[in-house]
Amino acid sequence: MLKMSKLAKAYYTDTVKTQALQPFDLEVKQGEFVAVIGPSGSGKTTFLNIAGLLEDYCEGQYTLDGKDVTGLSDKQKSRLRNEKIGFIFQGFNLIPELNLFDNVEMPLRYRSFSASERKQRVMDALQQVGLASRKDHYPQQLSGGQQQRVAIARALAGSPAFLLADEPTGNLDSKMADGIMSLLKDINAKGTSILMVTHDTEQASQAQRIIEIRDGVLSERHAPEQAIA
């Protein structure tokens, strides 16, 4: 599903080279729920940006759903992002002037779906997160937890192969966070792979696998005992 071989990332300034990620291998299979943990500044976000095709890597190979993404054009990468990846962000990233329907519909607008199919997909996604009845509301009329559910619906609407979640509960209280985690687990149970960055070890322990990044070095922790069912 997602395969990275000897992938590495470095940033260059005039005189200094900063190795953000040391060369690593990683494979995530269809249906897996993988947590990525590590302290601040360890390279988690860089890893996630590379996985989400938002940032280029310096060396190695990255295959997404069987397709090598090395050297793809901006347009090709945009298309791949649109079709294969659903993003969930810590800050929800909903557009305030669009209602829930329009927010969820956004990724579908960049694909050639008919209006009726778009509507069907948006309503299905909103249904899945339990907010179909509030499709005409605006983000600011919802609680944080509900906003994150809308963001999840937006990520799901295009039926992506996997979800990339960057601290999805970071801005929520524990009760709301539990709700979001349980929603993510439900989604994963239906076959969508999830790659989730978190620094909450308790949440990470709910994943099937845990990848730890420390000073740019990726390592796999042994499988937690309490993996999700």
Partner: protein, 443 residues
Amino acid sequence: MLTYYFKLAWLSLRKTPLLSMLMVSTIALGIAAAMVTYTVSYMKTKDPLPGKSDRVFTVQLSVWGPDQPYLMVDGQEEIPEMVSYRDAKNLKAAGKAQRESALGLFKMMSRAEEQTQRDSQMRMIRTTHNDFFAMFDVPFLYGGAWSEQDDRAGNRVVVITKALNEELFGGVNSVGRHIVLGDSLMQVVGVMDDWFPIPKFYYLSSHAYRDPESIFAPLEYQINQEIFSRNDVTWACWQDIEDVSFSDFMASDCVWLFYWVELESDANRAQYMDFINAYVEQQKQAGRFARENLSRLFTIEEYLRWAKVLSNENDMAVWLAFAFLLACLLNCMSLMMTKFYGKGSEIGLRRAVGASRRDICWQFLCEAFLVGLFGGVLGLLFAQLGLQLVQQIFTYLNATIMQMDLRIMLMTLGLSVVTSILFGLWPIYRAAQIQPSSQLKSL
């Protein structure tokens, strides 16, 4: 997809009403200033006689005395722009042009026959030959020009303007009815339709943007009636004319008439000039035209340029106005830069969920288009107000030169949209370059 982009553009403009208003008003102001200046300049300089302005000429003759030139301009001798009655009569009698008319002017009290003496008003009377109307493509509402016979005999006939016909006769067909001109009862033979040649090229440059006279009468009528007031019209003499009689004045070299000819084509210009030179030579033999022969023909445009009716000042004003527009556009560009940069996180998000750079460009192009369109509409409104203001200030000018025609209105909208997009390109390009990964934490 385009409708989606326009919807986003509209929402985006509504989200920041103040900034949007500022952008739209900035463009509107620039567009209005540019278009007010352009309109006045365009209307002032457009061809007043489309289709034949290159074969209609005014004749200027070297009729002046031996002692000193008519005028010296920049060290060059100038000749009068007007001709004497004597020469006008000779040229007309020679009949070498397809059409030709002398143009005189006098001022007199006038009224409809039915009106009382008290209703009389002082009006300018244009005296000319009947060719005037055909030569200058004057449209008629009722009747037409007077006949050649009327010209020769100086009959008491007039052609009046549509406006005067409204005033005196309530707009009905007044052909056959009479107006009183001083002591004469003049029969109306024609009522002109709307006719506002801009500039009014056929007489003195100082009259170029005034309305045409409201009454036209045969030149010979003026001569027969011995009407000539030295205080009311422009004239010049090199001879001493103190205490000369009317007939002596008319036989003198005093200039007070414009003379216009229409030739079959501009190719006949040289031929007609040969005739003029021959005429001057003949007059020299008879003891007139003592100076070097500088006689010439001017097309309408040549005359207007020579008389400085058309000048580079017009162009200069337009350039200045467009420079102001440029300043406004640069201002708007920086506002757009601020606006689009402020949307960095939205751009990041859209890029993340699958929008390509091109998609982002289209979205913001639509926004720049809307800013331009609204700016254009508001600019048109401002321009109308501006033109009305100009009209109030320059009341002596013909109001027609301060009106936008459809072409200029469409041009205004087009200019506004095109320039907004053009000056939006850089902000749009910059916006599309925003790295999504740098923005996603901050929406």
